[in-house]
C-alpha cells in the first residue's frame, strides 16, 4: 500500500509540474506580458523598460524557472488588473467555488443514487425510463441555457431564490442544481449497473432465499456493493466541477474562482489565469489520487494490478 501511495504521489507531482510548464508557455506565447504590465498610457519606451526590469527579455525557460522558484516560496506575483497579490484574490474566491462544487455534487448524489437504485430494482419499469429520460435530457441540454430558464422561472417569476451573487446560501441553489444536474447521469448509470450486478450475486440471492425482505436486501447488501465505485466517481466529478463552473459562475455572477478566471481571461490578466489553471489541475490530480487510494483500500486487487 505504501509503495502504491508513493508511486501515485510521484505521478501527481510530475503531472502538476508538467501542467505548470504547459500553462506557463501557453499563456506566455499567446500575448505580450510586457504590454499588459506596462498598463494604460504606456509609451513604447515604457514597455521596453518594463520588459527589461521584469526580466521578460530573458529566454522563456529561464523565466519559467524563476517563476517556479518564487512560486515554491508562495510568491505568485500580482494581478495585472486588480493589482493585488494573486494568492489573496484566489483565497477570497475559492470558498464560494468549493461550496458550489460540493453542493452540486450533493445534488447529483441525492438525485443519482436513489434513481439508480430504483431503476435497477424496477428494470424496464416506469422509474427506469424516467431515470433514463432525466439522464438523456441532462446530457443534451446546454447548461447555460438550462441556467437561463431556471433564472427566468425560479428567480424572476417565482422569486424563490436570488438571481445572482453569492451572499447567502440561497444564492447557491440554482447554480448547484444546474451544475449538479449535468453530472447526475454518470452516477445514476454507475449505481444502476452496480445494483444490477449485485442483485444477481450469490450472497444477495442467498439472503433473499433466507427470507430477508426485498428492501432490506437491496439497501443493505446490494447498495453497499454498488456504492463502491461512486466514491471514485465523486472524486473525479468534483475535479470536473471545480474546473467546469466557469460558465455557470459567470451567469450567476457567483463570486468564485470560475468567475475570477473569466474576469482575468477577459482582462488578459496572465498571472491570475495561470495560477487558477495550475490550482485546478493540482486539485484534480489530488482528488483522483484520493479516490484511487480509497478504492485501493476498499478493493485490494487494485493494488496488485
Amino acid at each position: 500500500m505504501l509503495h502504491y501511495c508513493l508511486k501515485r504521489l510521484a505521478t501527481a507531482f510530475l503531472v502538476a509540474l508538467f501542467v505548470s510548464i504547459l500553462s506557463f508557455f501557453l499563456i506566455r506565447m499567446s500575448g505580450d506580458v510586457a504590454i499588459a504590465l506596462a498598463g494604460e498610457g504606456a509609451r513604447l519606451e515604457d514597455i521596453e523598460a518594463v520588459r527589461t526590469s521584469h526580466g521578460l527579455d530573458r529566454p522563456l525557460i529561464v523565466q519559467y524557472l524563476d517563476w517556479l522558484g518564487r512560486a515554491a516560496t508562495g510568491d505568485f506575483g500580482n494581478s495585472l488588473y486588480f493589482k493585488s497579490p494573486v494568492m489573496e484574490l484566489i483565497a477570497d474566491k475559492i470558498g464560494n467555488t468549493v461550496i458550489l462544487s460540493l453542493a452540486a455534487l450533493l445534488f447529483a448524489l441525492a438525485l443519482g443514487i436513489p434513481l439508480g437504485v430504483l431503476s435497477a430494482v424496477y428494470q424496464g419499469g416506469l422509474i427506469d425510463r424516467l431515470a433514463l429520460g432525466i439522464a438523456v435530457v441532462g446530457q443534451a441540454l446546454p447548461n447555460f441555457f438550462f441556467a437561463l430558464i431556471l433564472v427566468m422561472f425560479f428567480a424572476v417569476s417565482l422569486r424563490w431564490v436570488p438571481v445572482s451573487g453569492s451572499e447567502t446560501w440561497l444564492h447557491f441553489v440554482l447554480p448547484s442544481i444546474v451544475l449538479g444536474y449535468y453530472i447526475t447521469p454518470p452516477f445514476m448509470r454507475i449505481v444502476r449497473a452496480g445494483m444490477v450486478d449485485a442483485l444477481e450475486m450469490d450472497f444477495v440471492r442467498t439472503a433473499r432465499a433466507k427470507g430477508l425482505s426485498k428492501a432490506k436486501v437491496v439497501l443493505k447488501h446490494a447498495l453497499a456493493n454498488a456504492l463502491v465505485p461512486v466514491v471514485a466517481l465523486s472524486g473525479v466529478q468534483l475535479g470536473h466541477l471545480l474546473g467546469g463552473s466557469i460558465v455557470i459562475e459567470t451567469i450567476f455572477a457567483l463570486d468564485g474562482l470560475g468567475y475570477l478566471a473569466y474576469q482575468s481571461i477577459t482582462h488578459k490578466d496572465f498571472p491570475v489565469t495561470q495560477v487558477i489553471l495550475l490550482l485546478l489541475a493540482i486539485t484534480y490530480v489530488l482528488l483522483t489520487l484520493i479516490a484511487d487510494l480509497i478504492n485501493a483500500w476498499i478493493d485490494p486487487r487494485i493494488r496488485v494490478s
Binding site: F18, V19, A140, F145, G244, A261, Y262, L277, L280
Partner: protein, 294 residues
C-alpha cells in the same frame, strides 16, 4: 470483460442494418441527425432569406404564432432584423462543422496515442498514460477560453483548440481496446509472419478497434458542440455575425424575458442535436461494443 470482442463485420451488412433498425433509440437518433444534416447541407436552398441580411426597419418581429407576425419571416427576426429561421438553419452548419472537425482532430490524436500505448505497452504506455493524466488535469473550458481570448476568436481557432483538448477519452478507450486486440491470436500470427509494426497496427489492430472509436468519437462530437455553444455564449467562441446557436442565445438573452422564443429556439435545436448524437452513440455502443464496457 471476459466476453470476446465482436466486430460488426462478423455479421453481414444486411443483418447489421436490421439490427440498427430494430434498435429504436438508434433509429430515432439517426432520423433526427439526418434531418439536421440535411438542413445544414441544403441550407442555401432551404432558407427564405440570406441569414446575414439585416434590415433595421424590421427588427424583433415575432414568430408566426404571434398576431403581429410578418408572414415573410416565419420565426420572426432578431435584433438586427435578420431572418431567424434562416439563421437557425445556417446555425446547423456551424454546430455540425464544429462537431465533425473536432471529432476528426481529436480522433486522430486520441487514436494515435491509444494505439501506441495499447500496442507497445511498457514504457511507451507509461509515457502516454502520463500525458493523458496531465491532459485530464487541465480544465478544458478554462484553457479553451483563455486561448481564444488571448489569441483571438474565430471558427478555426475554436475548432483547433477543442480538437487538441478533447482527445483524452478517445485515447483511454483506444488504449484499452488495443490492449485486448493485441492479445488475440491473429495479431500474434501476423507478428510471427514477420509483418511490420505499422502494418499490423493499421491492418490488424485498427479495423478491430474502429467500432469502439466510432462510439466514443460520437460522444466527443456532442460534447464539442456543447462546448462551442458555451464559448460563443460567453462571447469567446466564433465571431459574429456567424449564426452559431450558442451565439444566438448570447445575443438574445437580454430580451429573453420578453421574447422567450429567441433563446428557446436555438437552445432547443442545440439540445436536439446533442440528443440525436447521443442516441446514435448509445445505440452504436449497444450494437457493437460488448456488454459491460462503455
Amino acid at each position: 470483460m471476459t466476453s470476446a470482442f465482436l466486430s460488426p463485420s462478423a455479421s453481414s451488412a444486411g443483418a447489421f442494418i436490421n439490427k440498427v433498425l430494430s434498435h429504436r433509440g438508434l433509429t430515432l437518433g439517426l432520423i433526427l441527425l439526418g434531418i439536421i444534416v440535411f438542413m445544414a447541407v441544403f441550407a442555401p436552398l432551404l432558407v427564405p432569406h440570406d441569414p446575414y441580411d439585416q434590415d433595421l426597419a424590421r427588427r424583433m418581429l415575432p414568430p408566426f404564432w404571434n398576431p403581429r407576425a410578418n408572414p415573410a419571416h416565419l420565426l420572426g427576426t432578431d435584433n438586427l432584423g435578420r431572418d431567424y429561421l434562416s439563421r437557425m438553419i445556417y446555425g446547423a452548419r456551424i454546430s455540425l462543422l464544429i462537431g465533425f472537425s473536432v471529432m476528426v482532430i481529436s480522433g486522430l490524436v486520441g487514436t494515435g496515442l491509444g494505439l501506441l500505448a495499447g500496442y507497445f505497452g511498457g514504457r511507451v504506455d507509461l509515457f502516454i498514460t502520463f500525458i493523458v493524466t496531465t491532459r485530464l488535469a487541465i480544465p478544458v473550458v478554462l484553457v479553451a477560453l483563455a486561448v481564444v481570448a488571448f489569441i483571438g476568436n474565430s471558427l478555426l481557432i475554436v475548432i483547433l483548440v477543442l480538437g487538441l483538448l478533447k482527445w483524452d477519452r478517445i485515447a483511454v478507450v483506444m488504449r484499452a481496446a488495443t490492449q485486448q486486440v493485441r492479445s488475440l491470436d491473429y495479431v500474434a500470427a501476423a507478428e510471427a509472419a514477420g509483418a511490420s509494426v505499422p502494418r499490423i497496427i493499421l491492418r490488424e489492430v485498427l479495423p478491430n478497434v474502429f467500432p469502439q472509436l466510432v462510439v466514443v468519437a460520437t460522444v466527443e462530437a456532442a460534447s464539442a458542440i456543447l462546448l462551442e455553444a458555451a464559448l460563443s455564449f460567453l462571447g469567446l467562441g466564433v465571431q459574429p455575425p456567424l449564426p452559431s446557436w450558442g451565439l444566438m442565445i448570447s445575443e438574445a438573452k437580454t430580451m429573453m424575458f420578453f421574447a422567450f422564443w429567441t433563446i428557446a429556439l436555438p437552445g432547443s435545436m442545440l439540445a436536439l442535436l446533442v440528443f440525436a448524437i447521443n442516441l446514435v452513440g448509445d445505440g452504436l455502443r449497444d450494437l457493437i461494443v460488448p456488454k459491460g464496457r462503455g
